[in-house]
Amino acid sequence: MRILGVVAVSLFVALFGRLWYLQALQSEQLQEVATLNIQETIRTQAPRGRVLDVNGNVLVDNRLSTIVTVNPEDLRVALVDQGIRSSDDQAEFRREMFTELARELSGSGQLTKLADLERAFNDPSFRQFEDIPVARDVDEELLIFIGERPNSFPGVRVEQDLVREYPYGARAAHILGYVGSITGAELEAKADRWTLVDPEDPENRLPDPFGKPYRSNDEIGKEGIERFFEDDLRGIPGTQVIEVDNFGNLVEVISSEAPQRGSDIVLTIDIDLQVELEEELKRALDRAREAVPPDPEDPPFTAPAGAAVIMDPRNGSVLAMASYPTFDPGDFIDGLSFDQKAALDDPTAHQPLLNRAVAEIYPAASTFKPFTAIAAEVYNVFGWDFVEEWDVPTSDPGYWDLKSCGLESDDRETALALGCRKRNAGDATMEGVDLEHSIAFSSDTYYYKLGEAFWIAPNDEIPDDGIQQIASQFGLGASTGIQLPGEKSGLMPTAQLKQQRHEDNPEAFPFGDWYSGDNANIAIGQGDVAITPLQLTNAYAALANGGTVFSPNIVSEIRPPERVQLDENGVIVRDEDDEPIMIEFEPIEFAPRVVREIDIPADIEAAILDGLLGVTMLEKTLIDRPGGTAYNAFNEPEEGGVDFDLINWPVAGKTGTAQVGNGTDRADNAMFAGFGPSGTTNWGTAVSEPEYVMVTILEESGFGSKSAAPFVARMFDLIATDEVPKALRQEEIDEFYGVTNIGEIGDPEQGPAEAPVEGADG
């Protein structure tokens, strides 16, 4: 029996020891945990900042959306109270409840399936105590329906949530971008917003007091301005730390911080011009598609995609930027539906999400020639050996046989077979070609000659990569630094780069040597020269303003919101009238960002400007030579152009017709780069400082002169005559259609309603 006594004593000693350990030694730590245990942190979503255009029109706003949420814990507790205990029975109840809910949602006009609700409910990113949104943007009537039937819909709530609103619908979609739920990777990337208490324990982290902490299922900018200015647009979520009792009821508010709106972003974009640019881009592609290639053997003009940019050359502000095909950022508000996602991913849709103005690269083609000419003057190529001075008219036989081939004869077949003959488009021959006219008629031969001279001249006289150096100074083949995500840098190929690429990856780049022909191709902007439409716009802006290269701005300022003043306890400070005292913040302005000033020799600058003006003004019938390549576009309405007042609003420009692929399976890209109002006394026009520069690239749309130039002409015409129409908001468009639709349904006799003319067919 003594054994039992010994056992009993030792067990009691153990219990006392443990009790002492927990209540005396560990007590402090455990008391802390106990305090945290009864606290709950409630977060309230803060409105994102808005996005405005240069005139203060709101492009992205917030609106209230009615959502249906289900709280799994409330549902479970309610079911247990009703005596539904087993998980199978609970799932069965939930299925019936969701079926009823889906029926009600579908009845209110929002087609919803049981599976949709189940999928939303089972989203693993939510915790047991959180309200899970299962349906968004529902009819507000549902609030009454659910509210009247708490027993049929336990744990279900109808709440209001802030979502993005786009007053202009799908306009400027590529610039604005869109928002969506934060992904695991994005959450990880934002992890530096947390302070880790213990590096070994990543779960134990505190929100950075100066950051805007994220958690799963938060909204984050995915593309465009929404993404680039995420840190500014995002508001600071409000937090309320409360003590709760065992029913989850509020006992005491421990601390409370109100949500704070994010900053507004003001763009340099003019929405009226933007809408018109988008419309005209679409129309230009539609027209290009209708055109038939001159040779029926040639690939058709499929014109699937394109981009256009309008910039102010005086300060580098982007006024409008369009990319086609496009998308509707509103589709992302509730998450893409399966069909919407499939449509965006469809290869025949040509990547609607891609902002081709900054994120697609194209050959520069003939639009590159002015930069080759500047390089030739800077490095004294004019007058060297076989190259005439720039003001000496020469004869263009329609081809250039590369000197480095050392051909004895002028035999066409031999030269072609050896790859030594570089030809004009359509083998066109011209007389009296000096620099000015080489630009106006777009003589390739003139530039092949310059290109080869750069390569074969002794290096101590002329650098091999002189053309590339000058083009790079104009910002071609490098990122511009615009405030948009996903910008591509393009490529400015050189002998060293070609060799390097070959050595790094011989399979993809089988040739490492650089030949005269490569340099000749560079001179006309082909041969791997890859630029984005924005780069070309920016380079032409520098031509227009006399050599100032900007880093373009698409944002003019960030406007932080007024904020309530809080005292050290987090309580709002109020004045004697009990109104909160607001603190205003200075907006952050984006001044023009000059990258460099290029010293363009004055005589060559004037000759190039005259040549660019000749592109639009040189009438074929006046001289015994081809006219300016964009003459029709700016002068002949019956040829698809406009009747443009070039004397008072002169346009300097350059067409481009870029060969893509091997030049036989796909039609050429049509390009135009130009600026205005510009002019010289030589052309008898007004002389003024250019205010607009515009570039467009239309994929697989044929000749720049036929499809791209008329598009630019139409845009410049609207600008010059001050007839850019006011952009319509989506609600204005809907209002129009809403009225006509009722008429249609109500009175079938009336016939189909007419669509509004402007801005409604987007």
Partner: protein, 380 residues
């Protein structure tokens, strides 16, 4: 066996006076202390969170008072009838228990995955609880019979184990592992005091290990029970939550406690089953080390008194009854308090005289009645 009788100084004295004079008054006082403490913490655990105008929930308290009254009556009756004369009743009680345990398997109500209860309107009745005193009586009767010879033979040990095994087996079928562990403690205490040899202990232990191994691998135990059991060793397991929260509660109490009704862990219901299995967490949180230690001291003194009663018992039957009750209280108190503090695995064992629950309360008071009976009849 002579050693067992060493403390019986008043061996030859005759019984005199009424029963209430002959019983051990300190057992009564200690029990009242524990019962009072139990009522207070059960009320605290079940009254609900009160705000202005709310009426506290007294239903658990009221039922607990009724259970105690019923238990005291049952215990009083148990104490009054001389156990030596009632010895013949033991096989009848045993048979009755077996029938009840079979019946509960057939007609009982399932709760928390175990078919252990008969549902009645007022309170659920748990036959395996009432089988505890029967277990004590039947084992005490058997071993006091067979140990009258010089040494305990192995076959008799095995027969005793078989008697206990039948009850345990039926309870395992429910399955209620916690109660079987209490049975095991009763068996162990009685067998040890009855004088089983070390060799026999080893053989029995070997058989037991084999049986447990067979149960675990044979799928006899349900996964939830295995989980609860292994949670003790695996701090990451989900079942560990209860223990963690109980430990936090006890730590939160500190030296003097948060004060009655003021425990945040208690009020937030963070500790599951806080009015029954995890009642000690409420004691620890609201009454602190002072309260927890007081409870342990009360239990310790009560056990000392029962130990003394075993010592003074008039015969081996009575002694083994007291030993059985002693073992049961010791094990349940240690297991329940230890589980609350993370020292023992999570099993559904109530803290005697404290936890809410009718069957357990009545059983414990009957057991104390048995002990008083032995004490009251310690003289020839």
């Amino acid at each position: 066996m002579t050693a067992l009788r060493a403390g019986t100084a008043d061996f030859d004295r005759k019984e005199e006076g009424p029963l209430w004079i002959r019983i051990d008054i300190s057992v009564i006082l200690l029990s009242i202390g524990l019962l009072a403490m139990g009522l207070v913490v059960v009320y605290s655990a079940t009254r609900g969170v009160l705000r202005e105008g709310d009426v506290p929930d007294r239903s658990f308290l009221d039922r607990q008072i009724i259970f105690i009254v019923v238990g005291l009556v049952a215990g009083g009756i148990t104490a009054a009838v001389d156990y030596r004369k009632a010895r013949a009743l033991v096989p009848v009680l045993y048979g009755f228990s077996v029938i009840l345990l079979v019946a509960v398997l057939l007609f009982g109500t399932e709760r928390n995955g175990a078919r252990s209860w008969f549902s009645t309107g007022f309170a659920d009745f748990q036959p395996s609880e009432l089988a505890k005193p029967v277990m004590i009586l039947v084992l005490a009767a058997w071993f006091s019979t067979v140990q009258s010879r010089e040494r305990l033979e192995f076959v008799n040990v095995m027969i005793g184990l078989a008697i206990a095994g039948l009850l345990s087996g039926l309870v395992l079928l429910q399955p209620d592992f916690g109660t079987v562990m209490v049975y095991g403690a009763i068996v162990a205490g009685i067998v040890i005091v009855a004088g089983v040899s070390v060799r026999h202990v080893l053989i029995v232990l070997g058989l037991l290990v084999a049986a447990v191994w067979a149960m675990v691998t044979g799928g006899f135990l349900r996964q939830t029970q295995l989980n609860r059991f292994t949670a003790f060793a695996d701090p990451a397991s989900a079942s560990r939550y209860n223990v963690n929260q109980a430990e936090i509660a006890i730590g939160n109490g500190g030296m003097t406690g948060t004060g009655l009704f003021e425990g945040t862990q208690n009020n937030s219901s963070l500790v599951p089953e806080k009015e029954t299995d995890f009642i000690f967490s409420v004691v620890g949180e609201e009454l602190g080390f002072v309260g927890g230690a007081t409870l342990l001291v009360l239990f310790g003194l009560l056990l000392m008194r029962i130990w003394r009663i075993a010592h003074l018992a008039e015969n081996d039957f009575g002694r083994l009854i007291a030993v059985g009750v002693f073992s049961m209280f010791l094990f349940q108190a240690f297991q329940s308090v230890g589980m609350n503090m993370g020292m023992m695995p999570v099993t559904g064992i109530p803290l005697p005289l404290i936890s809410a629950g009718g069957s357990s309360m009545i059983t414990n008071l009957i057991c104390l009645g048995l002990v008083q009976n032995v004490h009251a009849h310690r003289l020839r």
